[in-house]
Symmetry: C2
Subunit: 388 residues, 2 copies
């Protein structure tokens, strides 16, 4: 039963951001923390709408139990922050990295936190910053935890981002022919997605935009994390494996397909079918309450039973949100139930050296009663065999 | 006196990489370390030629005092590593993130390091990994230290990368006219650079390629770290400020200019002149032995004396190498002498709200007797005023 989702392209409201902050503070309260320190640019973007890349000048968000959060930031980034952030903030400005003695970032940073305080930090916080943090340190990924369940606003943004990758994938299947070069495909697909992004979101923040469109031709499609040669030619037959992903003004999604050009080699029919069945089996389990590791176990058992156990090289899926790769995970060892408004990829894969890779991936929303695919592309072997 | 530099586009030899490793080991020995742990993808690339982005599945390089270094890596990245790395390596493979109890990355990781060992780590190492690291932990940025002085090979690669940004900047000045949109400039400049990169390095690794070409029109050029609106139009007059930077198959460089379209507003002539003089003053000090903070102090004093002290918002320069932004720094508080074969930017700036930004940046090599600019573009106000 499909629910109606409205694609959103507007920036987040102040209320959306302050609700996110309240969720973080509610976990701080549960864990009895006086402060929470965020350095991960993704987490800072989530709470402020300010996107940046990490370099030697630290940007640190300091959240106290109550009051306006503080942003420790180098002088020359203040205007940038103000132009993009959509939340209340108090600035703590340092001049440069490095600065004169007594005026470095950590001199200002340490003044913001009382030495007896209980201070929550991300497990990603670099030791160089941990060592400058006063108080009793508690590693707890609170913001990452809040990000796992998407708000209605985020779902609308993610749904829009899925339309962007749908378009990219359509272009990819249209342009991909034997002898087409990787580089040409990459350009056509990323140009198509970038054009849609700037048309739909004229004020998109290019610090939070990224697009990828690539195909692993059959000779390398069994090795899904190789970076293909930029002048690699596409080949007749298959399976080729596509990856089309995008971070669309802050929201990251993906769509991937195994497909064929012209003809289907006889030996690929069975693994393709097994992949489709493993996928159907995973989808059938998707609903609130299902333990995520159980999905991966069921998929593994099925693929092993069909004789392809040696060709499993990754878990069944991962979360998506601001990034295209994050918690939660459809993986053994991740014994947490699915919940409404999680967004995950579903992508069981079989990778056979000498034959190729068999994997479809979609970006999927967990709903009250089950799931809804947010990305859309052909799925069957017939639909995915492009006539030459 | 200019020295002859040969542009290099070949991948590093095994010898180049093993010499880098030897320098790391020599610092490990000085600091009496049994192991060194690297997680920073830039440092791992420096030693292995394997480029990747950090996500939830850790990649960790484990360097013991002697013997072949070990790479802890998820199963599906092994083929990727083998296809790009150009050094000897021993693999430590874990299946997935997360994995079944007892089979997680840290279970394998901890077995590699004896509990009584002295273990050097990067100050960027995330606390979540520090807390899983056995032995006595010593924070010491050894690989970052080695990277500060470039090898002949790196200088050749950097020189080639400079040719790429020179080309990008030429295209930028050619295409930039009043009403040209930011987005169009960005596309023209990055396309020109990407084309040159793939022509010169057909096997370039796109995980280590990135290009940027942008202009801050006069209405925002006083705020150099804003991200311009993608449909911002260029304006008549100036100063506009360009940023053209690229990571060219692993090597990051930049070139930046203040320039004018059509006419030079009267009030901009003096600050432009002061910027040029501050820059000349910095260049005159560039030679081995000069304390880097002294360059920044001299530049600051000069700009203050000329009446623009309130409009300094950043240091005089930063290092470049694999990244476009790294140690060493021409900054107060950085009291280290310049050495032969450092590569730095020289970019004193004056930023006046309502008037604009005044900054040229070049990528510069420190030589035995002084310096050599590796980037090339017009410098004077006359050359940088484009007739309409």
């Amino acid at each position: 039963m499909s629910i109606k989702i409205k694609a959103i392209t507007d920036p987040p409201s102040r209320e959306e951001l302050s609700n996110r902050l309240e969720k973080v503070r509610s976990l701080m309260k549960e864990q009895d923390l006086d402060y929470y320190i965020s350095f991960n640019p993704v987490n800072i973007y989530y709470l402020t709408n300010f996107a940046f890349y990490v370099h030697e000048r630290p940007f640190i968000l300091i959240i106290e139990k109550e009051g306006v959060p503080k942003m420790l930031i180098p002088k020359l980034e203040k205007g940038h922050f103000e132009s993009r952030a959509l939340c209340e903030i108090e600035f703590v400005i340092y001049y440069e990295f490095p600065s004169r003695k007594g005026e470095n970032w950590y001199d200002y940073y340490q003044k913001q936190i009382s030495s007896g305080a209980k201070v929550g930090i991300e497990s990603e916080l670099p030791i160089g910053i941990v060592n400058k943090t006063p108080g009793e340190i508690i590693v707890s990924d609170i913001i990452d935890e809040v990000r796992i369940i998407k708000t209605e606003y985020e779902i609308g943004r993610i749904y829009h981002a899925c339309r962007v990758v749908n378009k990219g994938h359509k272009v990819l299947l249209k342009k991909c022919r034997p002898k087409t070069l990787e580089f040409a495909l990459y350009k056509d697909v990323t140009d198509a997605m970038t054009s849609k992004i700037v048309q739909d979101i004229p004020n998109a923040n290019f610090r939070a935009v990224d697009t990828t469109g690539a195909v692993w031709p059959p000779s390398i499609s069994h090795d899904p994390h190789l970076i293909p040669h930029i002048f690699a030619p596409m080949e007749e037959g298959g399976p080729h494996v596509s990856i089309v992903s995008a971070q669309v003004d802050g929201y990251g999604v993906e769509i991937e397909r195994s497909f064929f050009l012209g003809h289907i080699p006889e030996k690929t029919i069975k693994p393709f079918q097994v992949m489709l069945e493993a996928r159907a089996l995973a989808y059938n389990m998707l609903k609130p309450g299902t333990i995520m590791s159980d999905v991966d176990k069921a998929v593994r058992s099925f693929i092993i039973e069909k004789g392809y156990g040696d060709y499993i090289i990754h878990r069944t899926g991962h979360g998506l949100g601001i990034t295209g790769h994050e918690a939660p995970f459809l993986a053994e060892g991740y014994d947490r139930p699915l919940e409404k408004n999680m967004v995950i990829s579903v992508e069981p894969g079989i990778y056979i050296p000498g034959l190729g890779g068999f994997r479809h991936s979609d970006t999927v929303l967990i709903t009250e009663t089950g799931y809804q695919k947010l990305t859309k592309a052909p799925e069957t072997i017939e639909e995915l065999t492009i006539p030459l």
